[in-house]
């Protein structure tokens, strides 16, 4: 220690002990302990942080260190220097290049594969076909329907038939060309409506569970509430038949994988995966080796958005080729192949019906969603539910009727994509509410504010809603966008619109449940003499910043700067099992697990400090790298001293923390789909300009309020909000997977698949609303997917406000919109679209009723948030039911049904007609 440093240490009264040995390389950029940041310490702990929504169980853990402060991603330095290694950047010595033989046909039987010419090509090392791996896999255990390569049949253009490993890329491609496959072409299905009918050769065979002889992969029927009277009671009804085109994640990094069997016979798979654990399982199934013989190494992930969350056939191919050839194999997709593997948002036909009664209440929602799953199941089982159940909130509703069906067609498989299953039907609901409000002559924001579920309530399907910041979201965007002076008041071609969203923050049930009591997330901590904290987590950082959030949580609890935390989250060999980055579960579950691990270390440190300073534990607080007495901050020890004391006799401190969701939900079939430990809410206002003469829409501004519970890293939350706007804007205005007349996917590149460039992006004002979720880590909920939902309807509604024309097909490309403008002109007998009338609004007397109700509700909500002795609130109370009891328990006319009645089947809706088939096992054949 230099003389100068020693002088500066005057006043450092570590009592009573001092670390006797000098600290190698000490000094550092911050040699002194900073005072605690009182602005970040909650009121409940004597700090200055306001808590309008009450305290939180993690309040006492706040050290004012990093949580809640904008923090750059802990791995950002790797990314900005080009040192971050993504899938294709893993280059192992002696590697081979793998390429895939893909089907040129939509649907065909593979009769024979002639490898002879390819095998003769110098430089070709190994070739594999479906015969090498016959076991099925799939992300959901109930619907395993994929093979590494075609066994018997190919099911879409681009489906895998064989794969080659060769010395270099040129040779591998040449070998692919030389492989001769003989096919018998089968009759393919492209229109999802055809998938509902019986067919000669369904794309998959589900055995006794097969639905009729059709291509229906999954069907759902749900009826809750006052179904019989919803139409009678309605004074306004909305009906729209939507078609949503499919969209792709278009992550900038194409999929890539490297497989390497090491000399001890273990496989390491390097892959940019969102969900390493499921690949781990699937590899074991397909390769027929135990899981412990496999190490899945998650590389940096160049964007996921759901597109890298299935176990993929090319991951199997690389492993098989590497096993056969005895050398590492790298397979990298070109952009076209990304579209063949797809897993994007389902093309969907959605019929949306909404009903409002004379009090301006939503007395019924009837949704029918037929979704196009493409050739494989993927996450489709869940998607089929999500299209319905995820619009049972944030509004209190009188009745909910949902029929959904997912069919197989001969297209690349659809799957999970940001906002999984909720995006399209949410758009339909929110546009419907805009239309209902217009019919009722009320402001659509007032309509929403008067129909919200309160905090700590249950939805009509029994989801447990804890924190809800919907009201604040709506109020904030209304104010910031100057809504009152703009809505229905702007000139032709200029419009403003509102849309809301509701999304799960983690899925209540793990995918692999037998049922089991395993945690959803586990985090391990290890601290040795150097004082740095090693965090082992399986959470997959895919750019959303999960490593950062986990590091922040640990740093916060232990009072450490972020540079003392190092995250190890790459390998299944060292990381505890985590279910992966999907369902917006990572922050909620992993940060909770990290906090509970850090609490154990915290306790060790406090005990040690108490022993050294002879102070009772309750008197101690943790500050910046220092633990001291609250009443006399001069009495305390440095972090390192406490650590070394705690390490006596036992060495490195280690701790494990885990998170598992509490028991929730009701008992009907499908009740678990959509259950989450918390939900996020959002409201966006979009301002657009529409050129009525060309149909071109430009989004100018977006005010985006999102309730994420608490922003652990506001920088990342804002990034997620703005990024979601980008992706949603693409879907609403320009992105679509275009299939030609004969079913060919026509735009398999980024030139024809139009994602917004910097010039198309509006100015987004992100507004963070913090509703302080009781179970979330420090109050946090998700911010990764929910923020995408509202942008679509907000833009649709703004287009209507601008020109009075509604669209029912997304994306609203200029040609589509122009056709609708022409139609409207013809209807109104107008020659020049410039003469179209702009929609205007004159309030009916209902407006006042709604405003009054929303004021009352606002008080109700505040009470339900702050008071501890609140009674249960079940959806239905707004309609006069007893809020404390589930309505179906007291009223027979309040339905809970998951099987369609005979009567319904006499004239089912589109997706509902999937129920006309009988499962094979019930046909008694």
């Amino acid at each position: 220690m230099s003389e100068k440093e020693k002088k500066e240490m005057v006043g450092y009264r570590q009592q009573p002990g001092k670390i006797p040995f000098s600290r190698p390389g000490s000094g550092g950029k911050s040699p002194f302990s900073e005072p605690r940041d009182e602005e970040m310490i909650p009121e409940s702990q004597g700090g200055k942080k306001n808590q309008p929504w009450g305290g939180h169980r993690h309040d006492k853990l706040i050290t004012g260190r990093v949580v809640g402060k904008s923090t750059s991603l802990v791995d950002s330095k790797w990314k900005v220097t080009g040192r971050a290694k993504y899938g294709d950047d893993i280059r192992l010595p002696n590697e081979l290049i793998g390429k895939i033989v893909r089907s040129p046909h939509h649907y065909a039987r593979v009769l024979s594969i002639d490898l002879s010419k390819a095998l003769d090509l110098p430089g070709v090392i190994s070739i594999a076909t479906g015969d090498d791996a016959k076991n099925k896999f799939g992300v959901l255990p109930v619907t395993k329907d994929e093979h590494a390569m075609a066994v018997d049949r190919v099911r879409h253009i681009g489906d895998l038939v064989a794969c080659v490993a060769a010395e270099d890329e040129g040779t591998a491609l040449e070998a692919v060309r030389l492989i001769n496959v003989e096919y018998e072409i089968l009759e393919s299905i492209h229109d999802m409506k055809d998938g509902l009918n019986d067919s000669e050769k369904p794309i998959h065979d589900r055995g006794e569970y097969h639905i009729g002889e059709a291509n229906v992969q999954k069907r759902v029927f749900q009826e809750f509430g006052n179904i019989d009277s919803m139409q009678e009671n309605a004074i306004a009804s909305h009906k729209n038949n939507w078609f949503f085109n499919g969209v792709n994640h278009a992550a900038t990094e194409p999929h890539a994988v490297v497989a390497d069997w090491d000399p001890s016979g273990r496989l390491t798979l390097y892959t940019p995966q969102q969900v390493p654990h499921y690949v781990h399982r699937a590899l074991a199934d397909v390769l027929e080796i135990p899981m412990h013989q496999i190490n899945v190494h998650r590389t940096f992930v160049g964007g996921g958005f759901g597109g890298k969350s299935d176990p993929f056939p090319h991951e199997m191919c690389a492993s098989i080729l590497a096993r056969k050839s005895g050398r590492p194999v790298r397979i990298t997709f070109d952009r076209e192949e990304v579209y063949w593997i797809n897993r994007g948002r389902h093309p969907s036909h959605i019929e949306m019906n909404l009903h409002a009664d004379e009090k301006g209440r939503l007395c019924g929602i009837e949704t029918d969603a037929l979704i196009d799953g493409g050739a494989f199941a993927s996450f489709g089982h869940v998607t089929t539910y999500y299209n319905g159940v995820l619009h049972t909130a944030p509004y209190e509703i009188g009745a909910f009727h949902y029929t959904g069906a997912r069919v197989w067609t001969n297209k690349p498989a659809s799957g999970a994509m940001r906002g999984h299953g909720a995006v399209n039907s949410r758009c339909a609901v929110e546009v419907g509410i805009d239309d209902l409000s217009e019919q009722l002559q009320v402001d659509p924001i007032s309509f929403r504010l008067a129909n919200l579920l309160p905090p700590n309530s249950a939805t009509i399907t029994g989801f447990r809603v804890t924190s809800i910041g919907m009201r604040e979201c709506l109020e904030r965007v209304m104010e910031e966008s100057d809504w009152k002076n703009k809505f229905r008041k702007m000139p032709l071609g200029h419009g403003i619109g509102i849309g809301c969203g509701f999304f799960i923050s983690g899925s209540g049930l793990p995918i692999h449940w037998d049922p089991n009591k395993f945690p959803h997330a586990t985090v391990h901590l290890k601290i040795d003499m150097d004082g740095g904290v090693t965090v082992h987590t399986g959470a997959a950082d895919i750019g959303q910043g999960s490593d950062t959030v986990v590091a922040q949580s640990v740093a916060e609890v232990l009072g450490l700067p972020l540079d003392m935390i190092r995250i190890k989250s790459r390998e299944t060999d060292t990381s505890p099992v985590d279910l992966g980055s999907y369902s917006s579960r990572v922050t909620f579950m992993n940060a909770n697990a990290a906090i509970s691990a850090a609490m154990k270390i915290r306790e060790d440190l406090l005990n040690a400090t108490s022993e050294i300073t002879d102070s009772p534990i309750e008197k101690l607080v943790i500050g910046d790298r220092r633990i001291f007495r609250k009443d006399d901050p001069a009495v305390g020890v440095s972090y390192l001293e406490a650590l070394h004391k705690a390490q006596e006799e036992r060495g490195a401190l280690v701790a494990s923390g885990a998170y598992r969701t509490p028991p929730m939900g009701r008992a009907h079939k499908g009740a678990a789909a959509g259950l989450a430990p918390a939900y996020s809410f959002s409201a966006y206002v979009a301002e657009v300009k529409v050129d009525v003469e060309t149909g071109q829409t430009k989004v100018e501004k977006v005010w985006a309020a999102h309730d994420c519970g608490k922003a652990l890293n506001p920088l990342a939350v804002k990034g997620q909000i703005i990024g979601s706007c980008h992706m949603g804007m693409g879907q609403v205005l320009s992105e679509e997977m275009r299939y030609g007349r004969t079913g060919n996917l026509m735009n398999t590149d980024l030139l024809d698949y139009k994602i917004p460039s910097v010039h198309e992006m509006p100015e987004v004002t992100p507004i963070i609303v913090e509703s302080n979720d009781p179970e979330g880590p420090f109050g946090a909920k998700e911010a990764g997917e929910g923020p995408l939902l509202p942008i679509l309807p907000a833009v649709c509604n703004a287009v209507y406000d601008a020109i009075g024309v509604r669209s029912n097909e997304l994306p609203i490309t200029p040609d589509r919109l122009y056709k609708n403008i022409e139609k409207k002109c013809r209807k109104l007998k107008i020659d020049d679209p410039m003469d179209l009338p702009s929609p205007r609004l004159e309030y009916s007397e209902l407006q006042e009723i709604l405003e009054k109700r929303s004021q009352e509700h606002s008080i109700r909500d505040r009470d339900r948030r702050l008071k501890s002795d609140i009674k249960p609130y079940h959806n239905g109370a707004l309609f006069g039911m007893d809020p404390t009891i589930p309505p179906d328990e007291v009223d027979e006319s309040w339905k809970v049904t998951v099987i369609p009645s005979e009567e319904y089947l006499e004239s089912p809706r589109l997706a509902g007609s999937a129920w006309l088939h009988t499962e094979r096992r019930k046909r008694g054949e």
Binding site: P31, L73, A84, T252, Y639, L750
Partner: protein
């Protein structure tokens, strides 16, 4: 179905090639039809140059050729023989990051980071030419780069901040400087 990438057929003719890459003279024989992106990734080893589309639509493969941003997936390597090529690996000065690299971290310009190298080289060229770009100049400069994560807004923020840092005369500190001391003094 067509394969977009033209196979470099085995055995195509090799020609001598040399270029200064990030200040280091590299000379190696390459195939006459080799694409610069492939040479950089597969032979030179500058894996920071990313391949997002291989057809000039994403901008991930951007590099500077004699100071001008170019899409390396659209450049024949032999065309740029004898040139000076800068990739993302060449932006930092030892352990001192380029201001735009530092600010990308700080302002959220990078999420997944895959597009980042492309943006960084393009922006470094912009700042070289115009140290105080306004928003529309920034947007025009990055219009050829796609980012799927950030929605660009925080990228533009980062450029503004980098421009300020550049013009303030301050530099980014050496990243190997000692970090936080676990045994800090207590400043009363």
């Amino acid at each position: 179905m067509s394969v977009i990438r033209l196979p470099m057929l085995p055995g195509s003719e090799k020609i001598p090639w040399k270029a200064s890459i990030n200040g280091k003279l590299i000379s190696k024989p390459i195939e006459s039809n080799a694409i610069l992106l492939d040479v950089l990734r597969d032979q030179v080893g500058t894996l920071g140059v990313k391949r997002g589309c291989d057809m000039g639509t994403c901008g991930c493969c951007s590099v500077l050729i004699d100071g001008k941003p170019k899409l390396s997936c659209l450049v024949l390597a032999q065309e740029v023989s004898e040139s000076e090529i800068t990739t993302v690996e060449g932006l930092a000065d030892g352990h001192h990051l380029h201001p735009i690299q530092e600010m990308f971290g700080e302002y959220g310009g990078s999420q997944c980071g895959f597009c980042t190298p492309g943006f960084l080289v393009v922006i470094s060229a912009l700042l070289e030419e115009n140290p105080t770009p306004n928003d529309s100049e920034i947007k025009n400069a990055i219009e050829g780069n796609l980012c799927r994560c950030t929605g660009y807004q925080q990228i533009v923020d980062s450029v503004r901040a980098a421009s300020e840092l550049l013009n303030s005369g301050n530099t980014v500190s050496n990243s190997t400087e000692p970090k936080s001391n676990p045994n800090p003094g207590f400043d009363e």
